[in-house]
Symmetry: C2
Subunit: 145 residues, 2 copies
DNA sequence: CTCCTTATTGACAATTATTATCATCTATTA
DNA sequence: TAATAGATGATAATAATTGTCAATAAGGAG
């Protein structure tokens, strides 16, 4: 479903700012972006777009599940578009590079949860940390961090 | 291994502040604490302990892997002691309650990763989101957020 | 046990991140 | 096309985090 419908069906308006931010997320599928990343990229397409708007729009997108927050090591919040294949991330502790991992064992985990509690699972996130092939080759496998 | 050894073996000093913060983490095993939580609890045991010290100490504990950062929904950083059983978290989207989940399929996931890439996994984190039994009973299962 | 060296602390300032406010603008609907 | 209510951007206000530095105190030497 396209953005316009998703917005209007919940009573929100379609604005150029929202479309630009959406496009930025789309064009970077699989690459988690910080709020500043999103702001910079959006400003390239629409100079003057305010940082406040980026904050507000991502809150909205998160509510509409248009975007998903991504938790990487480090403090800042990253976002990714919620389209295409469900996936997780492998973060290199040395260079910070993020690789995608399409495998997901959530079904198995949900089975386990169901056996042990009455918690109802609706979503999840997982990140793997380690070292990417490049850094391993360059001997930056351990330590650094 | 106790805190003193872990600190001294890396050339760090054992201070009352660090011990207090460590004790706070220990006494709340399984309950992720924000930096403010830690600061408040530590101040009960040692009035005057500075917030700056809490920041610094948790950076240190993270480096020494005495504490682990926990990623929950929302922005702020949470920490937990790195002792006892490895586990994950189930976060209630309605009341914010956090339940522990001792099940972990990291071995299976590592197998999958090994087949598909040369990334070397050294750690991981996973959080499940949903609704706790209490909130489900009270009909706050869906929507709210 | 006491002294010395230097890591650590806490107060404070500086910076950065996030949120609130409000006048203006504009997407939507009639 | 006009009306209206949501959205934006500038700015201010607040909160979170980091840097600075003098004072303190941990750990080792004697």
């Amino acid at each position: 479903m396209d953005l316009g419908k998703r917005l209007r069906s919940r009573g929100y308006r379609v604005t150029p700012q929202r479309e630009v931010i959406y496009r930025v997320l789309q064009e970077n599928e699989g690459k988690p972006l910080s709020l500043d990343d999103i702001h910079s990229l959006a400003c390239e397409k629409r100079p003057g777009l305010g940082l406040t708007t980026v904050y507000r729009t991502l809150d909205l997108f998160r509510e509409l599940e248009v975007a998903l927050p991504v938790h990487l090591h480090g403090d800042s919040q990253y976002y990714e578009i919620n389209e295409g294949k469900h996936h997780h991330h492998m973060v290199c502790l040395s260079c910070g590079d993020v690789e995608l991992l399409e495998a997901c064992l959530i079904e198995e985990i949900e089975d386990i949860v169901r056996d042990g509690s009455d918690f109802m699972i609706t979503g999840h996130c997982m990140s793997l940390f380690g070292y990417c092939p490049d850094c391993l080759e360059r001997g930056r496998g351990k330590g650094s961090r």
